[in-house]
């Protein structure tokens, strides 16, 4: 393994400066190598968001594992609904990939996310800003360590379960997780251009895994793994979005912009091919209560490009993840996401607590 540090920057390579001819190489290959690195790992876009929590609850967010980021950054703001420094919030994080779980007491979970300390706002009469005087905490999750512990980067998705114990007037204003861009190039990964392969007045180093053979693979990583999370609303397990209707309806007050009309979440599609609808995929974390064998539920994602349904069949009554379902966002500057659902048996109740929508780039 060879690693080299890099600083964030996007070189500008003008098309006209490339030599014209059948044997000419780039006029500035090291610049192209830097640009490829930046495309692959300088702008990772997945995130997980848990909005304001004023009550104890268990929440689930999802991340598609890729080898692009080395670290995930967790930012949280702990606030208070009253001008007092009393009481706070404890958080426990566990991560599972469907077959292995890193529990909150494992050393891969940082202190402060192990339910070990209460996070208390500094909101008081002397610092009377509810948001500004909140306690902001940053953690870094080591993806390599999580993999070494047993999680798999080959899994379809990792689920992050956040268990918050909220003691009023303590509150969580926000938990947000994003991917940290890469500050090194690592030859052990399937992408990346080592600067040493491109020396001034030298021949570009050749051969696996160095040099030109990794150039296209590196650039292509920017398309295939530069994923963005379009939608990340969640609910607590004890207060899920519910559906008992046998025809498609919205999920109710907390997900409606007016009576019976589902909320329209406005998003900007990733326009890698302008004029072509953007492919995305979504999953549903759900349980079906009161269902019997052969009962199902269906969740519908509606975008400007169409309706996309997933059928949910687990009638065990336990929380489960649906398979990923493919959908499209309408080409253009902006599209909308809205949700409806139905159950096949009106005696059953569909509970939904997470419905993330991710990029699903077409090669």
């Amino acid at each position: 393994m060879t690693t080299r540090p890099r600083t964030l920057g996007t070189p500008r390579l003008e098309a006209r400066t490339f030599a014209v001819g059948v044997t000419a190489a780039s006029s500035h290959p090291s610049g192209l190598a830097d640009l490829a690195n930046d495309a692959a790992s300088g702008h990772p876009g997945q995130r997980m968001t848990v909005g304001r929590l004023a009550a104890t609850g268990v929440y689930s967010t999802h991340w598609i594992p890729t080898e692009v980021p080395r670290w995930l950054r967790v930012e949280a703001l702990f606030t208070s609904s009253a001008v007092t420094t009393a009481n706070g919030v404890t958080l426990k994080l566990q991560v599972d990939d469907g077959s292995f779980t890193v529990v909150y007491t494992d050393p891969e979970i940082p202190a402060g996310l192990q339910g070990d300390v209460p996070h208390i706002s500094f909101y008081s009469t002397s610092t009377p800003s509810r948001l500004g005087a909140g306690q902001r905490v940053t953690w870094l999750l080591d993806i390599d360590a999580l993999v070494a512990a047993g999680l798999s980067l080959s899994a379809a998705v990792w689920r992050f379960q956040w268990s918050a114990v909220v003691t009023s007037p303590g509150e969580v204003e926000l938990i947000t997780v994003d991917e940290v861009p890469r500050f090194v190039v690592d030859s052990a990964e399937s992408f990346g251009q080592l600067p040493g392969s491109y020396l001034p007045r030298g021949i570009v180093a050749d051969g696996t895994p160095a040099g030109l053979q990794r150039l296209w693979a590196t650039v292509r990583t920017g398309l295939m793994l530069g994923l963005r999370t379009y939608h990340s609303t969640v609910r607590p397990e004890a207060d899920a979005w519910l559906c008992t209707s046998t025809s498609f309806v919205s999920f109710g007050g907390s997900d409606e912009e007016s009576a019976g009309v589902p909320a329209k979440h406005r998003v900007r599609p990733r326009a890698m091919r302008p004029g072509v609808d953007t492919r995305v995929k979504y999953l549903i974390r759900y349980k079906l209560a009161g269902a019997v064998a052969l009962d199902t539920a269906t969740v519908r994602l509606t975008t400007g490009a169409g309706n996309y349904d997933v059928t949910l069949t687990d009638v065990s009554g336990a929380w489960a993840e649906s398979a990923f379902t493919t959908a499209y966002l309408l080409a253009g500057a902006e599209d909308t996401i809205e949700w409806k659902a139905l159950v096949s048996n009106g005696a059953s109740t569909l509970h939904v607590i997470a419905r993330p929508v991710f990029d699903y780039p077409e090669a």
Binding site: L35, L131, G132, L174, M272
Partner: protein
């Protein structure tokens, strides 16, 4: 003089590492190949950065600003139970965009309606270079207003400038044995705050606020 660094669309090439890989070993490299690679890489850098940052579901708003409809006096410490929507939307990486190396725009996209045309629903998007007390007197901000009783789009857009960006060091501990190269560096970012008010100032005349989303888009 204008410059062209990307065709603005992803150009397909044969699969990397496949038999037809244009960058495979001993394959002559021609200018067109490198132009395509540079174009695709530039496009990926730009589009990948323009991502959604935050969202929340619908709610109701009825509290006014301290001075009616004046966002400079917005009640940032207010709570939903008092009819105020005031949120911290997080601190997010923002990198310069395009040939002109300008910061992208931050967009707050919402939908809303008032209960009577006598009232105004307002939304505010406020951006600061670092986390702190949201201060509309000094921060970069944008607002949008709606005084219609039908639910419709509301959009507040902040044109970031270089001085609106903060610089943040990321320095996780080195790991492994022997320790790997430190994955440390610095990046620019912004701290984002969201608010909404209604001039009715009465819980008997609530404004409806649909879903809210914050995302980045290309500079104008």
């Amino acid at each position: 003089m204008s410059t062209i660094t990307t065709a603005g669309t992803w150009i397909r090439l044969p699969t990397a590492s496949g038999a037809d890989d244009r960058a495979r070993a001993d394959q002559p490299g021609d200018a067109a190949l490198f132009q395509i690679l540079a174009s695709n890489a530039t496009l990926a850098c730009r589009e990948n950065e323009l991502r959604p940052l935050w969202e929340r579901g619908p709610g109701e708003v009825w509290a006014d600003c301290e001075v009616t409809d004046d966002e400079r006096t917005f009640l940032w410490s207010g709570l939903p139970s008092a009819g105020v929507l005031a949120h911290w939307a997080g601190i997010h990486r923002v990198r310069l965009y395009g040939e002109q190396q300008r910061p992208p725009r931050v967009v707050l996209a919402a939908r809303g309606a008032v209960s009577s045309v006598s009232y105004t629903l307002g939304i505010i998007l406020l951006v600061m270079p670092a986390f702190g007390d949201p201060d509309p007197r000094t921060a970069t901000r944008a607002v949008a207003r709606r005084a219609l009783t039908t639910v419709g789009d509301m959009t507040a857009t902040v044109e970031l400038t270089a001085e609106a960006l903060g610089l943040r060091a990321i320095a996780p501990p080195a790991t492994g044995s022997p320790p790997a190269v430190d994955e440390t560096g610095r990046m620019t970012e912004v701290s984002i705050y969201i608010g909404a008010w209604c001039t009715s100032n009465s819980s008997g005349a609530k404004a409806t606020l649909g879903a809210l989303t914050v995302y980045l888009e290309e500079p104008s």
